[in-house]
């Protein structure tokens, strides 16, 4: 019986590796962009580019917000957004600075800083998930609330007393590789395993795609959402260590403004959809490096900070829009331009196209067929070509006839309306 022979393990779909589709993957496109920026920098400032310490320092310049990108991936996967991350980062920095001022142990300082981040994230998460407020407005409000708290405590003062090793983390290299990059990659690996290999990651995708369906299939949406916001807060805390280090061990209440925008831009550029349920960890990791190189390159080429913001904004828009220009949109445009907005005509054309491609496949198979002689092959090929020509001709004729019919109908209705 044939039904017995159908393999039951075919449920586990494993796509075979195809070079063509691998090369046009979004992650690979990001790699090309990264290479392109490097080439531009190389050509524009060759002396500078090949100096010993340039590339590590470029990478270091982008690492202060890198950890928040990882947290933001999870948040965006849920279909939420968090614009309070920069403020949480400053809160964590303030807690660490104040505790160090009070003469605490370094370990306690860092732990309390991270705890502050967790609490801020918990606050966001409870408001969003438990009370059901929209994430946009909650985080807009908390971003001004958290920064406001820092302003109340610090006013215009600057905290200067931080553990010394913060700066080492942000500025040192091991064998020419920045320490910050190593830590970032390690964290990214953890996030990638959690997201792509674990049960929790699948839950996130499911909630992002359809929160109601995932609730009915027994997922605790509220708890998961709160947990993700807590993770975001924790990562903002981690980030504040690098941030304070980058700033040379100083912190004021106005620092890090606009970082949330960069973080979201990087995550979106990395291919994470803002409507939820789509995205991977690899993309944003590459996008972090792209942003670092891009802003450094523009800085070297003499573009000032405010103008750089325009580029960040444009990148954000382009990155969001590129997935939109997909097959569906092309089909829609075709329908409007060639098929007179009529689904029947489209259907006829698609059917014809499919048949033609099938015949083409047969022709290809014919080439590798060794059982037939050359003369037979030629004859068969001729027959196939004739078939294709006949099909396309017939398709064009039907299309024309249908379009004419549509036109006549339209004229009729127009006449009826004018009467």
């Amino acid at each position: 019986m044939s039904s017995v022979n159908t393999p039951s393990h075919s449920l586990t779909v494993k796509k075979e590796f195809k070079l063509n589709s691998f090369l046009v993957k979004w992650e690979m496109i990001l790699v090309y962009i990264l290479v392109l920026i490097n080439v531009i920098l190389m050509i524009a400032k060759p002396n500078y580019y090949f100096a010993a310490n340039t590339i590590p320092s470029i990478i270091q310049s982008g690492m202060d917000l890198s950890c928040m990108v990882l947290g933001m991936i999870f948040i965006l996967l849920l279909g939420d957004i968090d614009v309070s991350v920069a403020s949480i980062m400053v809160v964590c920095g303030m807690v660490m600075g104040l505790l160090k001022d009070a003469g605490m142990n370094d370990l306690i300082v860092v732990l309390c800083g991270l705890l502050a981040g967790v609490l801020c994230g918990l606050f966001n998460g409870v408001l969003v998930a438990k009370i059901g407020m929209p994430a946009v407005i909650v985080t807009i409000a908390t971003s001004s609330l958290f920064r406001g708290i820092v302003k109340i405590r610090l006013d215009v003062n600057v905290l200067k007393n931080f553990p010394k090793w913060f700066q080492d983390l942000a500025w040192d290299n091991i064998l020419g590789i920045p320490v910050a990059l190593l830590i970032f990659l390690a964290l990214a690996a953890v996030f990638a395993i959690v997201l792509h290999k674990g049960k929790f990651g699948r839950t996130l995708y499911m909630i992002g795609n359809n929160p109601v369906a995932s609730l009915y299939s027994g997922i605790n949406v509220t708890r998961t959402k709160i947990l993700v916001f807590v993770i975001m807060g924790f990562m903002a805390g981690v980030s504040s260590i690098f941030f304070v280090g980058r700033m040379g061990g100083g912190l004021s209440s106005t620092m890090g403004k606009g970082y949330e925008m960069n973080v979201i831009a990087i995550a979106v550029l990395g291919g994470v959809s803002t409507s939820g349920g789509k995205g991977k960890v690899y993309g944003p990791v590459i996008a972090t490096l792209i942003m670092a190189f891009l802003s450094y390159t523009m800085g070297l080429l003499g573009v000032d900070t405010n103008t750089r913001q325009i580029f960040t904004g444009i990148i954000l828009i382009v990155a969001v829009l590129i997935p939109y220009f997909n097959k569906q949109l092309i089909d829609e445009i075709k329908l409007k331009l060639f098929y007179a907005n009529n689904k029947n005509i489209e259907a006829v054309n698609i059917r014809c196209h499919e048949e033609v491609t099938e015949i083409r496949h047969k022709m290809k198979a014919l080439k590798h067929d060794t059982s037939l002689s050359e003369a037979d092959k030629a004859a068969k090929r001729k027959a196939y070509e004739d078939k294709i020509a006949a099909l396309t001709k017939k398709c064009a004729q039907t299309t024309k006839a249908m379009k004419d019919e549509l036109k006549q109908q339209n004229m009729k209705t127009n006449r009826a309306l004018s009467k």
Binding site: S144, I264, N306, Y324
Partner: protein, 343 residues
Amino acid sequence: MAAFPKTRTSAQKQESIFERILNYKQFGLIVALILLGLLAKFITPAMYQPASLVAMLRNNSIYAILAIGEMVVILTGGIDISIASTLSLSGVISTTLMTQNPSVPAIVWVIVSLAIGALCGLFNGFLIGKLKMTPMIATLATMYIYRGLAFLISGGVWLFPNKFTEDFTVMSQGSILGIYNITWITIILFLVAGVFLSYTQPGRRIYAVGTNVESAHVSGIKIGNVTVMSYVLCGALSGLAGVLYTANYSICYYGIADGFEMQAIAICVLGGVSLIGGTGRIDGVVIGAVLMSVISYFIGLLPGLSVWQDAIQGAIIIVAVAINIFTERMTIKRILKERGAMI
């Protein structure tokens, strides 16, 4: 068969005046306003002098104008955080042009600023309505683009009062019947917006789209066009606010109005405009604007409280949204209870 639930009009007729006042959506806000007013009577009696009341209204008119635009966008279920940048861009362009051509009448600059604002809004609307970007992301991006453009166009130059013509500044600073022109303009805009949203076809369409996109689409409303229209209106109002801002303070540089979008959103949320879209009325926004200006007056007046501004603002938004959500849930519960009693 179960009895038909009562229609709304018949239910309303049976309510006494007292009940109607209690059920008025902005009742809580008015109570809060009265309480704050009483508090001011004891703490800062200076607030009740006519001069300071008028000044308070003048200083908060920009927020109110922005809030009207923001409300239109929020009603469709979107959000626009680029309004402050639009304000800055249109203010910078029209004021720079004004200083170069001082002989041109001021009304031209009003039209220019409206056009610039509408263009900015059109771009936002195109991204969101036609290309289906998330409103938050699209306006986050344009917020930085417009601010950057404002910097590029102004070249980072500050324009000081000596460059401003009398004709230009009188738009905001002049006064009729003791109230500043900018406040009059705001009042007129509130009236126009109220009529537009409640009594015109496009206004009702905005509510329809915000309440239920699917059913609006099925009933023949072009969702994309309505969305674009709402963002264009919001942008045009922000553009107008730009020229009024520079005329009001006689100063102009690319960084003006930083963070005003927060204030506008706060006013809308306070006024009972639901961020999910479809609910919210202009009277709520009026009361929200007045309440917000009283609160910021308090903050400005009490010594040592100015650093608290950000935190208080954030807390107010959170509390207001939470109250909104709870009252909505209560309303739904009440309606269900009434229906249950009928069956």
